[in-house]
């Protein structure tokens, strides 16, 4: 088959059409991106709001993914050791990995990071204080500006520069339940408040729905191809909250959000992401008219990729499925290749699949394994060739 344009390939997979090879989407966290980019002599490696897609395109990504939600504000923001940073959402973030470690010790520690190999431990940004703890807080809370040009202008530029060739995806994560528990309220508090003060939880979710709906409308107006909503409701072995609760708290709000996006652009593709095992709500996700959803953490609850694909593969396109918890950071080159082969056999056969590791590639993955991953996808991701013949 003639080689396709990346955006046509990506759209082809979403429409379950015949395409030349499995489209792919690699994403990196900052430290990993810097490490891998150096191998290719790529120096433009910004992540988050300054995202530069050079490395990802070099590795054959068919789409450009740009993140503007609450996660983009926090997870890519450089926070100096010992300091905190307050985001536009009024959430306070600090850096982990530093308790009991002085600046000097930290420098020493950084020297021990293996440049070519996996990093040993990467300090991460984490929320340390949450703005809404009571009805009073909710009343006084001001949501950020959903028309902020700081968020929207870079998307316009990306579309102008890349959309002829590549598929443009804008990521609004984290969007609803996750934004509420992880950022706005705090996890334990959120779960207890679901029972103690359901109106407070509903108020927070309504606020988020309003903010993200308006932000998404503004993004859709820019002519992007896909909006990605990321909302982690899966834990390793099961969902975090029951499917019934998700149906009550999340589903109608997502339904509203998606229909508002599609009022702006009826052709817009929608992706819904959750980490962990959320297999009980895949039928609901299909019902919401979602085009693409991830098959996350294959080491977790529902490992039956073939079964899920057989059951829902005609109704939705899947992305992901390669283990990033053990296989990618700790497997040998052979193990990585075998992992890619498995995923292609389970999910790639018959189309309607986009290859991706189950999540971001983190600094714990060696350069060698990223290369092995890249080569294996080249080898096993071509339609008409083993294993996709």
């Amino acid at each position: 088959m003639k080689e396709m344009k990346p955006r046509d390939r990506f759209i082809g997979a979403l429409r379950h059409e015949k395409i030349d090879r499995v489209p792919r989407l690699f994403r990196f966290k900052r430290e990993a991106k810097e490490k891998i980019a150096r191998v290719f002599g790529i120096t433009e490696t910004a992540t988050g709001l300054g995202h530069q897609p050079g490395l990802e395109l070099r590795l054959g990504n068919d789409a450009i993914i740009y993140q503007i939600g609450i996660n983009s504000e926090f997870s890519h923001h450089p926070i100096p050791i010992g300091e905190t940073w307050v985001s536009e959402f009024d959430v306070t973030y600090g850096k982990s990995g530093l308790q009991g470690r002085t600046d000097e010790e930290h420098l020493d520690f950084m020297k021990t990071q293996e440049y070519w190999g996996p990093a040993k431990v990467v300090p991460e940004n984490f929320p340390s204080a949450h703005p809404i703890q009571s009805m009073e807080d909710l009343k006084n809370y001001t949501w950020p500006d959903p028309a902020d040009p700081r968020l929207l202008d870079p998307i316009k530029s990306l579309c102008e520069e890349y959309q002829d060739e590549y598929f443009i995806m804008v990521d609004l994560s984290s969007t609803l339940i996750e934004a509420a528990y992880a950022h706005i309220v705090g996890t334990q508090k959120f779960f207890l408040m679901m029972f103690d003060e359901p109106d407070l939880i509903k108020g927070v979710l309504d606020g988020l729905t309003e903010y993200y709906t308006e932000l998404g409308r503004n993004v859709a107006k820019l002519g992007v191809d896909m909006i990605r909503v990321g909302d982690d409701v899966g834990a390793q072995q099961s969902m975090m909250l029951s499917p019934e609760m998700w149906r009550e708290l999340a589903k109608p709000r997502l339904d509203y959000m998606f229909s508002e996006f599609r009022k702006i652009n009826s052709e817009l593709f929608i992706k819904l992401h959750s980490c962990g095992d959320y297999s009980p709500i895949i039928p609901d996700i299909v019902e919401l008219g979602v085009d693409l959803c991830g098959l996350m953490q294959p080491t977790g609850g529902n490992k039956d990729q073939k079964g899920i694909k057989a059951k829902f593969g005609d109704d939705i396109t899947f992305i992901g499925g390669l283990d990033v918890q053990n296989l990618l950071p700790r497997g040998s080159v052979e193990v990585v290749r075998a992992g890619v082969l498995d995923v292609m056999k389970n999910l790639g056969v018959g189309g309607g699949y986009i290859f991706s590791p189950a999540h971001y590639i983190l600094a714990d993955v060696s350069v060698q394994n990223v290369w092995a991953l890249y080569e294996a996808v080249q080898d096993y991701g071509v339609y008409g060739k083993y294993p996709l013949d």
Binding site: Q99, K120, V121, E124, T187, F195, Q236, M245, V324, Q325
Partner: protein
């Protein structure tokens, strides 16, 4: 798998005053009604029911039922959290009474999330479960430097140490923490349990932990077994 059922303690009526009924407390703990639990246990104490009886006949049935359901994923984190909170409300009232009776704890357990990792919901559920099972817990919180595990283990003369890691980039610190415990001469005085989403039995074996808990229920079972096993004595 059998659907978990309420295990009614055999002969509970013989241990309670005439006309006493634990049923409302079993249900309150099951449904996570912490205020009701607090009031009911207060009343039981005032009625002169022994603290051990309140614990075994009154509090545990509803709690164990939810624990079993949690283990089978019939209920999930939110429901388990409110039940644990109700259990805690009851326990807070009877713990001083149990201590006064010189009821010996099962063991001292130091718990925390390893350096670099801020996830705490899993380890806080494990903490409550262990407390309820009768362990004395020192919870060091999240992002815990190995030195703090060593200090706390020494101070508490700990029987067990448990550390959690939720990121593939921080599980390595479980290994480092064990190595540091070894260097400090503490390793063989304690039993070590690990847990967290990216961890496995193989990883536990590789880094020389004594046990791996797939979930909170498993962790408590393991702790009960391991605490009986032989260790070097604290000086």
């Amino acid at each position: 798998m059998a659907t978990p059922e309420l295990q009614i303690p055999e002969g509970w009526k013989d241990r309670a005053p005439d006309g006493w009924d634990w049923q409302p407390l079993w249900e309150a703990v099951e449904r996570g009604h912490n205020e009701f639990t607090h009031d009911f246990v207060t009343n039981a104490i005032e009625t002169d029911i022994g603290p051990k009886i309140i614990l075994d006949d009154g509090l545990f049935p509803g709690f164990n039922l939810q624990g079993d359901r949690f283990s089978e994923q019939i209920i999930l984190i939110p429901e388990m959290l409110i039940t644990a909170r109700a259990m805690k409300a009851g326990l807070a009232l009877i713990r001083p009474l149990l201590a006064a009776m010189a009821e010996k704890p099962l063991g001292h357990f130091v718990i925390g999330t390893v350096l670099g990792d801020m996830h705490d919901i899993g380890q806080s559920i494990v903490t409550i479960m262990l407390e309820n099972a009768g362990f004395v817990i020192t919870n060091l919180g999240t992002d815990v430097h190995p030195d703090r595990f060593i200090e706390a283990a020494r101070e508490q003369k700990a029987d067990l140490i448990g550390f959690s890691a939720l990121l593939s980039t921080t599980v390595y610190y479980q290994k480092v923490t064990i190595e540091e415990l070894q260097k400090a001469g503490v390793r063989d005085k304690v039993k070590i349990l690990i847990g967290g989403a990216p961890t496995t039995q193989e990883w536990a074996d590789e880094i020389g932990a004594d046990g791996w808990g797939k979930d909170a229920i498993e962790a408590v079972k393991l702790a009960r077994t391991l605490v009986e096993e032989k260790r070097e004595a604290w000086a």
